[in-house]
Symmetry: C2
Subunit: 347 residues, 2 copies
């Protein structure tokens, strides 16, 4: 090798030089600009692949102020529902030429804040967020909103007004369906293991639960309504409390499947027959629900559909761009479906 040129890293200038054209033309050819001759475009494309050229996103992003990258903040990738949503989002987004930076807040507000900053520094074109259960102040997202960069919330969304796009499940309906189903299966004394009321999810589910109870004129026992982090141990302890009494529930509606599974576990350990003495329903249709014995009735949330809708909205917002309004005024509501299994069978 005589000319001591750099070994790899081919740029637009290398193509320009090779073809005796200006870098401007190369750029235009690569970006499908209309004013470039068919032949020129072909030449450029050919030379580009020949030289193994790859656009430098840094340079491109700096100049055009677009990164073709979207940031995603979720509590944890290892939660079944979110894992499915991500898979769907990432695959769909890729088809539209966008990359995804996935970040986990570990369900803490401070981390969510930091990540928002980091993603802002990376100048992502948009943000997709399933926020923390404790997030009630959303000002850390203002930076994006102010710059007209779309922010899409899914599943866990801000309550109240906010200049962002909302894609959410029909949590009210889900809870209503499940509770109704328990009642129709014969339950008269139903407990509700729910999450923190800071989140829209559990507000809606609590309401759905109460509506069903109310419609059937069933009394609601305050001590049987739990608002707590939906961990296995918490649910187990809730069960202990409920059953440490002479009047016992004959139905439990849990706001996630981990809690429902914990309830099943408690029942097994204490010789309580499910569904004979106690019926249990969960939420999310986690794969575990169909495997455990007895299998657990649960509410399907269609994570793939959620992902699809998120990307749909995003692509629309990113394409119109200039025309103000970087958000959709109406929330998209994803339907739910009750999957009935053994844990709520009629005796």
């Amino acid at each position: 090798m005589t000319t001591g040129k750099k070994t790899y890293q081919n740029t637009i200038l290398d193509i320009a030089e090779a073809l005796k054209l200006s870098p401007a033309t190369i750029s235009r050819a690569l970006n499908n600009h209309p004013y470039v001759k068919e032949k020129t475009r072909n030449d450029v494309m050919e030379m580009a692949t020949k030289l193994g050229y790859r656009r430098n996103q840094m340079a491109s992003g700096l100049r055009s102020n677009k990164t073709r990258t979207v940031g995603l903040i979720i509590p944890r990738v290892s939660m079944f529902f979110h894992a499915e949503v991500i898979t769907s989002i990432q695959n769909d987004l890729y088809k539209h030429g966008y990359s995804l930076i996935i970040c986990q807040s570990n369900d803490t507000v401070s981390m969510e804040r930091e990540l928002t900053e980091t993603l802002y520094a990376s100048r992502v074109d948009a943000l997709i967020v399933a926020c923390t259960l404790q997030t009630v102040d959303f000002s850390h997202f203002d930076k994006f909103i102010d710059q007209n960069k779309p922010v899409i919330f899914y599943d866990r969304v801000p309550v109240g007004d906010y200049k962002a796009t909302f894609i959410k499940g029909d949590d009210f309906e889900g809870a209503y369906l499940a509770t109704n189903h328990l009642i129709e299966a014969g339950c008269k004394q139903i407990a509700h293991i729910s999450g923190p009321l800071t989140s829209n999810l559990y507000q809606a589910r609590a309401a759905g639960f109460l509506k069903a109870m109310d419609e059937h004129g069933l009394p609601v026992r305050e001590e049987w309504i739990f608002h707590q982090e939906l961990y296995h141990e918490n649910a187990f302890r809730a069960m202990e409390k409920m059953f440490d009494d002479t009047t016992r529930p004959d139905g439990v509606f849990a706001d996630n499947d981990t809690s429902a599974i914990a309830a099943i576990g408690y029942a097994k350990q204490n010789g309580i027959a499910v569904p004979g003495e106690l019926k249990i329903a969960g939420y999310s249709n986690d794969p575990r629900t169909s495997i455990i014995t007895p299998s657990v009735t649960s509410v399907e949330q269609f994570p793939n559909l959620v992902g699809k809708k998120v990307v749909e909205a995003l692509v629309e917002l990113l394409s119109q761009e200039a025309e103000g309004l970087a958000y959709k005024t109406e929330p998209v509501i994803i339907p739910v479906e009750l999957i009935v299994r053994e844990s709520t069978a009629i005796n």
Copy 2:
């Protein structure tokens, strides 16, 4: 507002102007360059937060040829093992100031190729890969290797020599332990539901299985060794084949838990007692294994440890950088542990 300046997007120049300093000094202050007065640094920091300044990664990356971003390619985020690994990687990486771009190959080679190109275009500083089960040609990663950018493979790694860093589980040992355990529990006729032999994983596990069988002088029936995609239906069909015969296996070692669970399902449907007539062991210690009845013996792979080791190696490689060799010559082997449950209990 009289001066029609841009509303947000504060840059280093804005700080410079506000403090009557040059942009160079601001940059140095922000990057902890030694030659900057204590007071100056403080002033800069203060003004930076006051103006809500955030470094523009595009510009920074373009100039310094560093993005502080790492690319990750995995088959699917929704696989339990990988979800756990990602969580661990992402959290650890974040502590070192790196972001992660997560991509899914959907376990297809062509997608893996494309994603590698995309991540190259984004000029990520390094690549973490759990490759496809069918990836036998690794030339698409050469672009990174040639430019001395670290490539770290975990779990599914290239067989043979390749200038990259390997973090892998002790698959041979895992299979050996599981098979041994089945034998010691009394099994004499053991089947093996394994994955495609293109992958290092299943080569090693096949070998471990055979070693254990051999050591105990047990015969291996060719028709009971399956190399196939490890899906539920495939495993179910394998079970049908095995049990459609007069001589039936009394033990099944499956290379993942989905297959083991399918085996349990088949046994349940056909009235075969587990562990009475048939003992079953799986691989990965998926949460489902401890929930199903009977619970399934499985091999724990310590995904968190895998993630930790990946980041450890990466940070080391990225820090030495200049000193050639962007890979570790010795693979890191993550130990495994057999988790014994009901499905292999002695009768």
